[in-house]
Amino acid sequence: MKRFKLARNIWLGIENLLLHKLRTFLTMLGVVFGVGSVVAMLSVGEGASQEALEQIRKIGSHNIIINSIKSDDETSSSTVYTRMSIYGLKYDDFARVSESNPAVKQAVPVKIINKDARFHTRRMELRVVGTTAKWFEMLDRLVVAGRVLLPRDNEKMANVVVLTEYGARRILATGNTIGENIRIGSDYFMIVGIVKSEGGMAGNIQMPDEQTDAYIPIKVARNYFGDITRKSTAGTWIREMVELHKIIVQVDSLDNVVKTANSIEAMLRRFHDKEDYQISVPLALLRQAEATKRTFNIVLGSIAAISLLVGGIGIMNIMLASVTERTREIGIRRAIGAKRGQIISQFIIETVVLSTVGGFIGIAIGVAIPWAITYFSGMPTVVTMSSIILSVGISISVGVVFGLYPAVRAANVDPIIALRHE
């Protein structure tokens, strides 16, 4: 005897479904929307989390960032004219942080002063970042031209500056930029390099660098600009004394990041009366992002499960109606010699074809929606292969699960009664 071929059975199922095109299409819609929304929502979630992960990666998952902040009582008393606010991280803090903890691989001190810069007739305000060569080791940024700061720049107290691509374009507006001198404050600095910068926020953490940065050796910064800044706010001159605005710490391994952050915090608390510093741990944020993603996936999973359940019930409902409608056909097939199993497989194949085709249309919609979201709103979306495989699997199972009962009902039709059925 020849084999009962699957391909022919599938083809038979397709032919039967094509007899009622509108009904088939409407029946499919449940699965189409179910699968479509799963793929679309997962891709939006995946896009958001990948973007967050990418930004956190740019800060560096091994890094801990300590920022100087004005403590609350300092902020409230700063209206006094003669008062000078003294707060933030000290040079001593940097020495303690970099030497006291064995897990600290390296640390970099950062001094930030806003200064006007001039180049011929152009001027702009730059965020002058006094730092060392290690800054560039710890934050992986693309070097567009020239070089970054070197250890000898600090040793020699060289008047050199590394600009960002954005800053260079705005203030120089020329192609050949390396070797030019620009004036920052009242001193001249030679441009030795251009780097790309990653401004903006990564989750709740501000990126350490900004678009208008100008990197100079920290010793030069301290020497020329000092620790005291004056700025005018609402007619009042405010003087602030901050030794270091930032300390970026790199830890030797991922396991030690949180531990080290805690011990640094404990140490700083001992030496600071007020809490005039803030510790950010990108890794903790990364963990938080992962937890958020998990929660998000559970919520999406539930929504998807409900919509697919509704879709499946819709399919089952139509298939039950179809079994009743086709009682006579089933009777004819049984009389001719079709076994119960063959009737079951005929109906299950029909529902699986229905749900699978619906699933594929759903995937197409689920891919198109994120594309449109990205195209119109710029929000990042990522359609992962795993979400598509998952959707195909789900739609096939919906067909099997919800097709089983109608198929068994069909197989149990008594051919004698069915043949008399009108």
Partner: protein, 238 residues
């Protein structure tokens, strides 16, 4: 009585022995067949007759492996099928039996060709072979130009021809016909009967249920039933 005895022998091609079929109707038991013994020889042509409720349809359903006996035995081609399961009965219908119905029982949504191919589909024939066979059968019943039509586009006589072609597709030894001319006008009915007689001449065993004596005359034997029992068997002189 002489005639009847010759059809209860032990070596029949199709043999019912003391077959009972009982239905439970509420608290009452109804004996649709109340102990029937008969054997049908290979190549014979039988017409089962009798008033409605006499058990002739039940007998045809049992002979066609669509229904099971309550007691007694049914031997089909040397095999006792009265104890077989559902799948085995399906297998018997598929390989050895062909059905012709009063209301044709074609699947209206598919073409004439697909209807004829239906048994071949379950026999596992591949598409090309099935198509060739369907064309050949359609020629045999004179409908080769209607293969692409839907059954609803055909006349009653044509539909019954398609049904006969379908019944022949699996090359059965036995054809079971349930009032094959019941839905047809007289002249079309005669044409269909001529076709059935032709098949009998080619060696098919044919068992037909009818209530028209004029139709029954085509058969070699007329079996009259009453109240679930065989009343008499008459041999027709051709």
């Amino acid at each position: 009585m002489q005639t009847r005895d010759s059809h209860t022998s032990e070596d029949g091609f199709i043999r019912l022995t003391n077959v009972m079929k009982t239905y439970q109707m509420g608290i009452e038991q109804v004996h649709a067949l109340a102990g029937v013994s008969v054997s049908f020889e290979k190549g014979s042509f039988w017409a089962i007759m009798g008033p409605s409720g006499s058990g002739k349809s039940t007998m045809l359903n049992i002979l066609g492996c669509l229904d099971r006996v309550t007691s007694g035995s049914y031997v089909l081609q040397d095999e006792d099928v009265s104890t077989l399961g559902d799948d085995a009965l399906s297998e018997h219908r598929l390989k050895h039996l062909g059905f012709i119905f009063q209301s044709f029982n074609l699947i209206p949504q598919i073409t004439v060709q697909k209807n004829i191919e239906l048994p071949l589909y379950y026999l596992g024939w591949d598409a090309d072979e099935s198509a060739d066979r369907a064309v050949e059968l359609a020629k045999k019943v004179g409908l080769e130009d209607r293969l692409g039509h839907k059954p609803t586009e055909l006349s009653g006589g044509q539909m019954q021809r398609v049904a006969i072609a379908r019944a022949l597709a699996n090359e059965p030894e036995i054809l079971l016909a349930d009032e094959p001319t019941g839905n047809l006008d007289t002249s079309t009915g005669h044409q269909i009967m001529d076709l059935i007689c032709e098949l009998n001449d080619l060696g098919k065993t044919i068992i037909m249920v009818t209530h028209e004596s004029e139709i029954a005359e085509h058969a070699g034997y007329n079996l009259h039933m009453r109240d679930g029992l065989i009343e008499r068997i008459k041999e027709n002189r051709q």
